[in-house]
């Protein structure tokens, strides 16, 4: 477990590791941004993309953070996140991105959920998630 990172650092590491594969959010004015976001559960007040092209990464809290206090009265928080990879391009897979991200985040990777292939019966996108835990001082 790394000594101290935060959600913004995690987001940057994901974006850097997947720079060759990450898709794009496309906005109403045709602007585009890398398709990676952190779901905080707070209703967004910023412009929302109209569509997603390619691979999207959604980082979401997995469980409530656990706060622990040391005898020295210093405290730390163990944060757990689920990094969900969704493939909007129906001709491509998330497999390479999952492998790339697993290696890039191996210092805080705690698990990989099973691959959910595209299911035409329910029109689902292919997706797979990585579970992350790190300590915040």
């Amino acid at each position: 477990m790394p000594s101290s990172i935060d959600i913004l650092t995690l987001r940057d590491r994901v974006e850097t590791a997947l720079s060759a594969e990450l898709g794009t959010y496309v906005y109403q004015n045709a602007a585009t941004t890398p398709a990676v976001k952190v779901e905080s559960g707070i209703i967004a007040r910023t412009a929302q993309p109209q569509r997603v092209n390619g691979l999207e990464v959604v980082i979401e809290p997995y469980t409530a953070p656990s706060l622990q206090t040391l005898l020295s009265s210093h405290a730390f928080v163990d944060d757990q996140y689920r990094i969900l990879l969704k493939q909007w391009d129906l001709t491509k897979s998330v497999a390479t991105a999952v492998r790339t991200l697993s290696l890039a985040l191996q210092d805080c990777l705690t698990g990989i959920e099973p691959l959910l292939p595209r299911n035409t019966a329910i029109d689902s996108l292919e997706q797979q998630s990585l579970l992350i835990q790190y300590r915040r001082f």
Binding site: R51, N119, I122, D123, S124
Partner: protein
Amino acid sequence: MRSLLCHKGMAKVTLDIRSISQGLLAALDDGAKELESLYFDAIGQVSYVWPNKTVRKNQDVVGSPRDKVDLGNLQASTSYQISGLTATFEWDPKDPTTGKPYAAYVFFGYTDSSGRVLPGSNWISVAHNIRSPEQIIGGACRAIFN
């Protein structure tokens, strides 16, 4: 367990590993049955948040929160195997129309190609919040070794 009082006034206590091992296996067997029942009930619990109304195959119209029971295939597919001191539970229902397995989509949730996010339903956590496996197996051990 066997205890022996010898002529020096000393007691020896020896654990009978075989009977302890048999007791643990019996406790795991009893605990697994209880867990299976808990998981079954958890799938039927009205606690799952869903983004819209659904007309189910059984003709019920359900909103949110809801249970995860339509035709009951997911509940009915609950099974487990015991190997050594490990109980492994599985759910592997098949869609009656397509024949495809669907438990993982219910459990983890998914996004459809229109962008609709359908949340997952972790019935294992729901069951463990009612009674944890440690409590269940601990209780079964106490009942057997008492």
